[in-house]
């Protein structure tokens, strides 16, 4: 089956600016754009899950936007009892490890100007977040894009370090500004992550059951769907590339569970409107020209071989790690607070626990006062469940 759009653009032209109208509508009232189609897909899913020859089927997605859609539209309320859809490490901010945050904090405390995406500001390091450092007087700028960080450097003689996070989709933007001859006072502290290797690690983790993956649509826009074929060959687990619209998610799940039922591990692209088999080759060229994959620890997950993106030697001049003597020693001598130690963000990202298993969730840990990274980012499971309610009581 295919979720490709019907062909005729039936969209009413958008008539309002982004802030216009509909104020006060609750998320649930929005419902599905096509309730009948949603119902048909839900029924198909129920049937297909019933046809799998065991009690439970467990699949994982690795995209914050998927989780937003699943929670926002209450998709778990219509999932069959026998199907678990868990969120894996799909939040790049959340998997940024404390030592990486410590490097940015140390640089800021050394007097270097640090520019970063807004979500990174509140991610806890060992003893401080960048927001804490800022409150202590360090210069930290929130930017919306890598280009803005470059502009910031152009407007000053100070050293500007772009603390760059995000998966391959976002790393491409960092690569492009590195290749576009940034000013001499600009450098990059890369915390970029590469999703395909972590899918391999999580699939093999002893306490995590992954029988199929729903791969993230827009990351695959860059890498292409064919990239997952090697994973499928190695692990015998099907991968379905899906969009984040609720109907896209449901259709993706039906396809995925069909592949599980038929023991037919292969890659199916259900998001052809954004993803091609080979992806965006120009973007891939730039990405791999600037970055090389190296192993590194992902917060809460494990050491992930090839999971981190670091600048290649040719770009050493733009690499903050080689440009500065980053003194993280003083930060590491501190120890995390008891609250931080009670945080189970890592188990949540590995699919072993849900936010409701955490004693801090909604109590000590809220979007206003986040303890762990999963409550900081709009792609973090905890923040998403806090807003939308997450897992309904059935």
């Amino acid at each position: 089956m295919s979720d490709a759009p019907g062909g005729q653009p039936t969209a009413a032209p958008p008539t309002e600016g982004p802030d216009g109208g509909a104020a006060g509508r609750s998320a649930r009232e929005l419902e599905f754009r096509d309730p009948e189609k949603a119902r048909a897909l839900a029924e198909a899913l129920e049937r297909v899950v019933g046809e799998v020859d065991r009690d439970r089927v467990s699949v994982m997605h690795v995209c914050g936007s998927h989780e937003q859609s699943i929670a926002k539209y209450g998709i778990r309320t219509i999932l069959p009892q026998g199907l678990d859809v868990i969120m894996g490490p799909g939040c790049p901010v959340c998997v940024t490890d404390m030592p990486e945050v410590d490097e940015a904090v140390a640089l800021a405390r050394q007097g270097v100007r640090v520019a970063t995406y807004g979500d990174m500001l509140h991610v806890p390091g060992t003893v401080q977040s960048l927001a804490d450092a800022q409150a202590d007087g360090a210069r930290v700028d929130v930017v919306y894009s890598a280009s803005q960080a470059v502009e910031l450097a152009r407007d000053t003689d100070d050293e500007v370090v772009f603390f760059a996070s995000g998966f391959e989709t976002t790393a491409v933007a960092t690569a492009a500004v590195v290749l576009a001859e940034p000013p001499d006072n600009f450098s990059v502290l890369s915390a970029h992550k590469y999703i395909p290797p972590v899918m391999e690690i999580v699939a093999e983790m002893p306490h995590t059951r992954v029988e199929g993956y729903l791969a993230a649509g827009h990351a695959a826009t860059i890498t292409g769907s064919a990239l997952f074929e090697r994973f499928v060959d190695r692990h015998g687990i099907p991968v379905v590339v899906a969009g984040f619209e609720p109907l896209d998610v449901l259709a993706g799940l039906v396809q995925l569970v069909e592949l599980v039922r038929d023991d037919d591990p292969r890659v199916v692209n259900m998001y052809p409107r954004c993803v091609t088999e080979q992806g965006n080759r120009n973007a891939q060229e730039q990405l791999w020209k600037v970055f090389r994959p190296t192993g590194g620890k992902w917060r809460g997950i494990a050491h992930v071989p090839n999971g981190n993106l670091r600048l290649r030697d040719e770009y050493a001049g733009v690499d903050a790690r080689r440009r500065f003597d980053i003194d993280v020693g003083s930060l590491r001598r501190g120890s995390p607070t008891p609250l931080t130690q009670a945080c189970i963000c890592g188990d949540i990202m590995a699919g072993r626990s849900s936010p409701h298993d955490c004693s801090l969730f909604g109590e000590e840990c809220t979007p206003e006062n986040p303890v762990g990274a999963c409550m900081v980012s709009s792609e973090g499971t905890c923040k998403i469940w806090h807003q939308y309610g997450g897992h309904p009581d059935l």
Binding site: A11, A173, A176, A180, A219, F244, S377, S378
Partner: protein
């Protein structure tokens, strides 16, 4: 942070395009998109870069989804992420009335 947003290309200036996102004009860089882009095309913008030219047959479906999301009140997480994405493109230097809603640039 892996959510792109579609917009209509209004003008191409070398490696940069002026793009209309629901009446908000922003500049989007064309360094990484893998097809030539000209005025009238729709692109998917992510953190200020066009990452894909949207095939013509897919434009209507893609816009419908985002229009609906953008009708959400402030504070809705997905809608905010989409708005952030629009912010992530930079303000065009030459546009005299940036951000003034002027209705759609005609998505047909």
């Amino acid at each position: 942070m892996c959510l792109g947003v579609p917009g209509k290309v209004v003008e191409v200036k070398g490696d940069v395009a002026v793009v209309d996102f629901w009446g908000v004009r922003r500049e989007t860089r064309l360094d990484v998109v893998d097809e030539p882009v000209s005025p009238g095309d729709y692109i998917l913008n992510h953190v200020g870069f066009a990452i894909r030219k949207i095939p013509e047959a897919e434009i209507g479906e893609t816009l419908a989804l985002y229009s609906e999301l953008l009708e959400e009140a402030g504070g809705d997480m997905m809608a905010e992420d989409v708005r952030d994405e629009i912010e992530q493109a930079s303000m065009p230097s030459s546009d005299p009335t940036p951000g003034v809603p002027r209705g759609p640039e005609g998505n047909r």
